[in-house]
């Protein structure tokens, strides 16, 4: 649901334009990573993420980043269908941003023991909920009741919440680790087929 702009729109627009101009400067490099800027029209930019190292190339996620009230408030990020821009609910997302919360040595030990201790940065309450990225610098994180003590204003000058920061994190935790397709085939029923002409009286 779009929120009304309370900051002078020219201020937010100038900052939005600055973010997009910085992106355009590095766009060729970003494209090699599979980042595709589909459109950028204040206050929203839509970016899709493909995986260049897989064949055929899948588009694994697309986000609309909303810079309304930027940067009094951080940008909002929502996952969308890359073709229709319809917001996705959790059951249709098929995308996660997994993060290990320990040093590599400890992680390797736990991996050997058969456990993969990772947390998903993409959060949601139920399958019909709109998933959000639980990360400082993103509006949904700071608006969440669990993070009222971690105000955006404490992060605003840090570099978090920029377009490059948000895209880098989605890529680092969600896209770049992908290396193979996993296909599950499960036969639930087995039936024999026959032509009706073959049936006898």
């Amino acid at each position: 649901m779009p929120t009304p702009q309370v900051v002078d729109p020219e201020v937010s627009r100038a900052k939005f334009d600055r973010e997009i101009a910085a992106y355009r400067k590095m766009e060729a490099t970003y494209r090699t990573r599979g980042w595709l800027l589909l459109d950028a029209d204040f206050p929203e930019a839509c970016v899709a993420f493909a995986v260049p190292k897989l064949r055929p190339y899948p588009i694994v996620a697309a986000v609309v980043i909303d810079f309304t009230d930027y940067d009094l408030r951080p940008p909002s990020v929502r996952f969308v269908d890359p073709f229709t821009r319809e917001p996705l609910v959790a059951r249709n997302l098929n995308f996660s941003m997994l993060r290990r919360q320990m040093p590599p040595e400890m992680f390797a030990t736990m991996l050997q023991q058969g456990t993969v201790p990772v947390t998903n940065i993409v959060q949601f309450s139920g399958p019909d909920d709109h998933p959000f990225i639980c990360l400082p610098g993103i509006r949904e994180y700071h608006d969440n009741p669990a993070h009222t003590g971690d105000s955006w204003l404490l992060h605003r000058a840090s570099g978090e919440g920029s377009l490059a920061f948000i895209l880098d994190k989605i890529w680092t935790y969600g896209v770049e680790p992908l290396s193979t397709f996993q296909i599950q085939v499960q036969a639930t029923t087995l039936a024999l087929g026959a032509s009706p002409e073959a049936f006898r009286e």
Partner: protein
């Protein structure tokens, strides 16, 4: 007597011409050598070592999306290059350790290594990306 004087003059004349030819050959050889050196420089093969300058790598450091060009020597540590890039782009709100140095493919580079250790060549693009904050906390209470 007069004839002998003429012969001496002719001999000296021939000697002078021979010396002139040798001098011309030497001059041509020098020009060729200079030309080769110029070509080498023009194609990037002639290094600065001939001029007693250290090897310099032009690093385009993309700091949180903003590119800045830093000229670093191969002896310089990546952490020092990072500090210069952060200072130049005024990204001083976070300690340098919170910025990861990555290459174009996204691999994290060791800030304690020197520029020369990575064999970047004359130019390279690196990325400084801010480490993710305390994310992943179960906001949904699960």
């Amino acid at each position: 007597m007069h004839d002998r004087g003429n012969k001496d003059a002719e001999r000296l004349d021939r000697g002078a011409k021979e010396l002139e030819r040798e001098a011309g050959g030497l001059e041509e050889a020098r020009r060729e050598r200079d030309h080769e050196n110029d070509d080498g420089d023009a194609h990037g093969g002639g290094d600065d070592r001939g001029h007693h300058e250290p090897d310099v790598v032009k690093i385009t450091m993309v700091v949180n999306g903003q590119p800045v060009t830093i000229k670093a020597t191969e002896q310089e540590r990546l952490s020092d290059v990072r500090q210069r890039a952060l200072t130049e782009t005024q990204n001083l709100a976070q300690p340098p350790e919170n910025w990861e140095i990555k290459n174009e493919a996204g691999a994290v580079l060791d800030p304690d290594k020197r520029v020369g250790d990575y064999h970047f060549g004359k130019e390279v693009t690196l990325f400084l990306s801010l480490k993710a904050g305390a994310a992943g906390a179960d906001a949904a209470g699960r």
